[in-house]
């Protein structure tokens, strides 16, 4: 959180359509979280490489909610503010597993094409 000067960083890698959904689902698999938390978590875990713009985060969260993969409940945040917490539904969990499978197959296939040992599968 120390170097928040994100604007000075090189533009973050454009995420593939659908990858953002996967990241959100994976993050929420750890437990209920609000939008801000999801963004921070992804940023942290990816060592600040993946910065989720609010412009895509919230539409994605809403889209997943409308699909019924995640559900939202209003609760109190750690600093006692009213916040919207998202959590995985049963369908969402199944979806996550299916998408993880797909992703692993896809990334190892891409790795093979690029003739490099895919680190992700290790």
């Amino acid at each position: 959180l120390s170097n928040i000067e994100g604007s000075e960083m090189p533009p973050s890698t454009d995420l593939l359509q659908g990858t953002l959904d996967l990241l959100i689902l994976q993050t929420l698999a750890l437990g209920p979280m609000h939008g801000w938390g999801v963004a921070q978590r992804i940023q942290q875990v990816s060592n600040e490489v993946l910065q989720i713009g609010q412009g895509s985060l919230y539409p994605a969260l809403h889209r997943l909610e409308y699909k019924g993969w995640i559900q939202a409940d209003w609760g109190n945040s750690e600093n006692n503010r009213r916040a919207k917490f998202y959590s995985l539904t049963v369908t969402g969990r199944q979806q996550l597993e299916a998408e993880l499978d797909t992703w692993e197959r896809l990334s190892s296939a891409i790795g093979l094409v690029l003739s490099r040992v895919p680190e992700a599968s290790a």
Binding site: L1, S2, I4, G6, S7, H34, G35, W36, A39, G53, Q54, G55, S56, Y58, P59, H62, R63, Y66, K67, G68, W74, S77, N79, R81, R82, A83, K84, T91, Q94
Partner: protein, 891 residues
């Protein structure tokens, strides 16, 4: 998996119904910004700076909010609703455009659908036979019978030796029959060949077809019943098979039920079908050796055309022609045509003409909608540019235009369907009885869809065009930058509309004039205040000519005693209807003083009537030479005859007809001259006796005499000259007849109404085509008005400049009206040329008016010029009144 899909759909559905609260989203986004601010502050920023940073990082709050909204299922529906609202607002702002488009669409769709629903049954209906297009009607025609028929004596020769058909069959006509047991009922029976149903490709709904044994003379008596009879009498009980019923006192076994959609090829009503059981050998002896008249049908072999079949049958026809007596052998011709042609007769021509007219109307409607949309599109170029500049995507603009087109088309179509239903009912109500299948015409959904689709395409195509072009920045400025191509297209469309409506108008005017001639012509007889009385007697109660004669003479005497009846004439048939029953002779059969009146082989037929002296008095047919019949001659033992002027001129060119003796040839089976000798006592003026539109035919009147009781039969009509109203006399007549025979039904008619009814068909045709022509003209004029008004509005500024530079108001009028006049002249000339080229089609429907009647075309041109000029001058006058100052400030 399916469970997942269902639950996902349910979730979506829940969100579709339940709108998320906008405040929730705001709270959520606000929370995010607060968290970011807090994080920034924790990193050591000043509170102010921390918040500013957070907001900058967040970016457009509004954009994020909108994107979240767009995720919602049904968001798309919301934009459609927006488009619809927008379109409706636009329509309200521009009611003339809206109403014009709606009226045009409704008229186009309504008229097309209604007419197509009518002609579809006539032109394209599939007959209820397997492979109905391979079925033909085969037979002979001659001058006394123009609908092909067959003779039993020829049929078997043809059937055994023909090559073009897989099979040939016949029916022996229908006749009245009755079930004579409990619940007696009058029915129509038809006698058919054993292979009749198989040849037509009809299989019984229940039971089986006739066997060859059942078709032999004195074979087992069997019958098939119609589906209608099966329902009404047996309530569809399958146990009806092998039941025995009494038909005309004969026990007949039911062996089958005909399919529900079964119909005889000549469309006669039929309740019971029985084997004809012909004695083939006898066909060469009965009816003068030529056999009974029958009607033959055949199924073409695959690959054989009707023309080929005809030429292949020709040698057989020529062979059997030798059996026809030499006097009229050459009058017979071979006829092979499809069953459909035989059924439809001249309804074909009318149907095609109506179809053509209605497509012309649809074309005009489409052109009208297209030019209206195009004009509107051009006028909205600026609006589109503004919306585009404000961020509306191209797709959104096109969708908006499509929404408008679709809304109009849908509303227009709905109105069109209502109109079609109304029109169809009117058609059926005013239609003459002669048009087959008209009475059960129904709205055709396919054609409604077709018409709607066409109109939608027109509207969409021309509506989208302006939206497809990227709105130019210059359009924002509002300078007049009209795309010339669209303007030219609109002018072409308007000129085309005028042209098409000229074609319609010319056709309609010709029919109106023809109909006028038909109604106004001199029939040669008086029909006003003449009552007709027909008494169909039951032949079982009146078994002989003598019985008929006695009854009719008593009725005549009773009628003469009635007050208000000035004269009572009797006849066995009535002019002018050529299709109602009447007697006829060949001209060649008339002998004068024992010698043939004309060289052998001369064609031509003569109408024959048997009348009493008062016939001429009631109908006021003048005797132009000699005298009429007298009452005394009725009971004299001699025979008297009156010729029509036409016949007298043919038989006695010297004018010496009176007092001559004539006789008629008989054939039983060979020619003899043994009939009564008639003395010619007079020559009567000609009357219309071959239908309203046809040429008069020569005619003679035999005196209905009391010493030939065998000549009296059910063909008997009383003609009453009444000085009192029909409603007064009718009950008196009925009570007189009831006193003589309470079971005798009396059919009383008014002759002038019967004659009026003969004109039903031309009236129908004229009314329909006239209606379409007026529709077409109205739409073309609306289109013209629209385009001129549009051009005038577009040029308001130019007009201002011109007037500021010194143009007079008259110059402006000329400028704007000139545009319209050019279109009128162009459309009018092209239309007249097209009318002259196509009007030939109407020829068979016209009476006493040529297809190139110059007065008609002059009238059409004048009418068009007047109406179209008015449509041009109204907007042109508005343009003329433009105040230059106003116009220049128009920006």
């Amino acid at each position: 998996m399916i469970k997942d899909m269902i639950s996902e759909w349910l979730t979506r559905l829940r969100f579709l119904v339940k709108r998320p609260k906008p405040a929730d989203l705001d709270d959520e986004l606000k929370f995010h910004v607060e968290q970011a601010t807090a994080a920034n502050a924790a990193a050591g920023m000043a509170p102010e700076e921390a918040r500013r940073r957070a907001l900058v990082e967040f970016g457009g709050v509004e954009r994020a909010r909108e994107q979240c909204h767009e995720q919602r299922p049904g968001w798309w529906l919301g934009t459609v609703a927006q488009d619809v609202h927008y379109a409706l607002r636009g329509f309200r702002r521009n009611p003339v455009f809206t109403i014009t488009v709606l009226a045009t669409l409704a008229l186009g769709i309504g008229a097309t659908t209604a007419v197509f629903s009518v002609v579809d049954r006539i032109l394209f209906r599939s007959l209820p036979y397997a492979h109905d297009n391979r079925l033909v009607s085969v037979g002979l025609v001659q001058s006394l019978e123009r609908q092909e028929f067959m003779l039993g004596g020829f049929y078997y020769e043809w059937q055994d030796n023909q090559r073009p058909f897989t099979s040939m069959t016949f029916e022996h006509g229908t006749y009245e029959c009755s079930i004579t047991q409990a619940n007696p009922v009058y029915l129509q029976c038809a006698d058919v060949a054993q292979n009749f149903l198989p040849t037509l490709g009809v299989s019984p709904e229940l039971g089986r077809n006739f066997t060859p044994e059942e078709d032999l003379p004195n074979g087992p008596k069997v019958a098939m019943i119609s589906d209608g009879l099966w329902l009404s009498r047996y309530n569809r009980d399958p146990g009806v098979l092998n039941k025995t019923i009494m038909i005309d006192d004969h026990a007949v076994r039911i062996i089958g039920v005909l399919p529900r959609d079964f119909e005889m090829p000549r469309l006669q009503e039929t309740d019971i079908v029985r084997p004809a059981a012909f004695d083939i050998a006898a066909q060469h002896t009965v009816n003068s050796g030529i056999g009974w008249p029958i009607w033959a049908f055949a199924r073409l072999k695959p690959g054989v055309s009707i023309q080929e079949a005809r030429s292949e049958m020709e040698p057989l026809f020529l062979h059997t022609q030798q059996w026809i007596p030499a006097q009229f052998r050459n009058e017979f011709k071979l006829q092979v045509r499809s069953i459909r042609d035989r059924q439809m007769q001249d309804a074909y021509t009318v149907a095609w003409i109506l179809l053509g007219a209605v497509f012309a109307v649809l074309l005009i409607a489409c052109a009208n909608v297209a030019s209206l949309f195009s004009a509107r599109g051009a006028a909205r170029e600026r609006e589109l540019a503004v919306r585009s500049a404000l961020g509306a995507s191209r797709g959104r603009l096109i969708r908006q235009t499509l929404t408008e087109a679709f809304l109009l088309a849908a509303t227009g179509a709905a109105a069109g369907c209502v109109l079609a239903e109304i029109l169809l009912r009117i058609f059926i109500a005013i239609a003459p009885t002669g048009v087959p299948f008209l009475a059960n015409a129904r709205l055709d959904v396919r054609i409604v869809l077709f018409a709607v689709l066409i109109s939608l395409l027109c509207a969409a195509l021309f509506g989208i065009m302006p939206a497809l072009e990227k709105p130019r920045a210059t359009a924002l400025v509002g300078r007049q930058t009209k795309s010339g191509a669209h303007a030219r297209l609109r002018r072409v469309l308007v000129a085309a509309q005028i042209g098409i409506s000229v074609v319609l108008l010319s056709g309609a005017s010709l029919l109106v004039k023809s109909f006028w001639n038909l109604e106004q012509q001199n029939l040669g007889m008086q029909t006003r205040d003449v009552l007709t009385l027909h008494i169909p007697l039951n032949w079982e109660r009146y078994p002989s000519g003598q019985a008929y004669m006695n009854f009719y003479l008593r009725v005549e005497a009773a009628l003469r005693r009635l007050p208000g009846i000035a004269a009572v004439g009797m006849t066995n048939s009535l002019p002018p209807d050529a299709n109602s029953w009447h007697g006829g002779r060949r001209l060649a059969d008339i002998f004068i003083g024992g010698k043939p009146s004309t060289p052998p082989g001369t064609g031509g037929t003569v109408v024959a009537r048997m009348v009493t002296p008062d016939y001429f008095r009631v109908l006021q047919i003048p005797i132009v030479q000699g005298r009429g019949f007298t009452e005394e001659e009725r009971s004299s033992s001699s025979d008297f005859i009156i010729l029509s002027k036409l016949l007298a001129a043919q038989l006695f060119p010297q004018g010496d007809a009176i007092g001559q003796h004539i006789q008629f040839a008989n054939y039983n089976p060979y020619f003899v001259l043994d009939g009564p000798v008639f003395t010619i006592v007079g020559v009567a003026a000609d009357v219309k006796n071959a239908g309203l539109a046809a040429q008069d035919e020569p005619e003679y009147y035999e005196l209905r005499s009391n010493h030939h009781p065998e000549s009296w039969d059910q063909h008997h009509i009383f003609l009453l000259e009444s000085t009192l109203p029909v409603s007064v006399v009718t009950p008196w007549i009925r009570s007189q007849i009831a006193q003589l025979d309470p079971t005798a039904p009396a059919e009383i008619g008014v002759l002038s109404q019967d004659v009026h009814k003969l004109a039903d068909r031309p009236r129908f045709e004229t009314a329909l085509l006239g209606f379409f022509a007026l529709c077409g003209l109205a739409m073309a004029v609306i289109g013209l008005y629209g385009v001129i008004a549009f051009v005038a509005a577009q040029r308001t500024q130019e007009i201002g400049v011109r007037m500021a530079l010194g143009a007079t108001r008259l110059d402006i009028l000329r400028l704007i009206a000139g545009e319209g006049v050019r279109l009128i002249v162009l459309g009018g000339v092209v239309g007249l040329a097209a009318a002259l080229a196509t009007v030939q089609l109407l020829k068979s429907l016209l009476f006493n008016v040529g297809p190139y009647d110059p007065a008609i075309y002059a009238a059409v041109a004048v009418l068009l010029a007047l109406v179209a000029l008015t449509a041009t001058l109204i907007p042109a006058r508005t343009a003329m009144k433009v105040e230059p100052v106003e116009a220049l400030r128009y920006e």
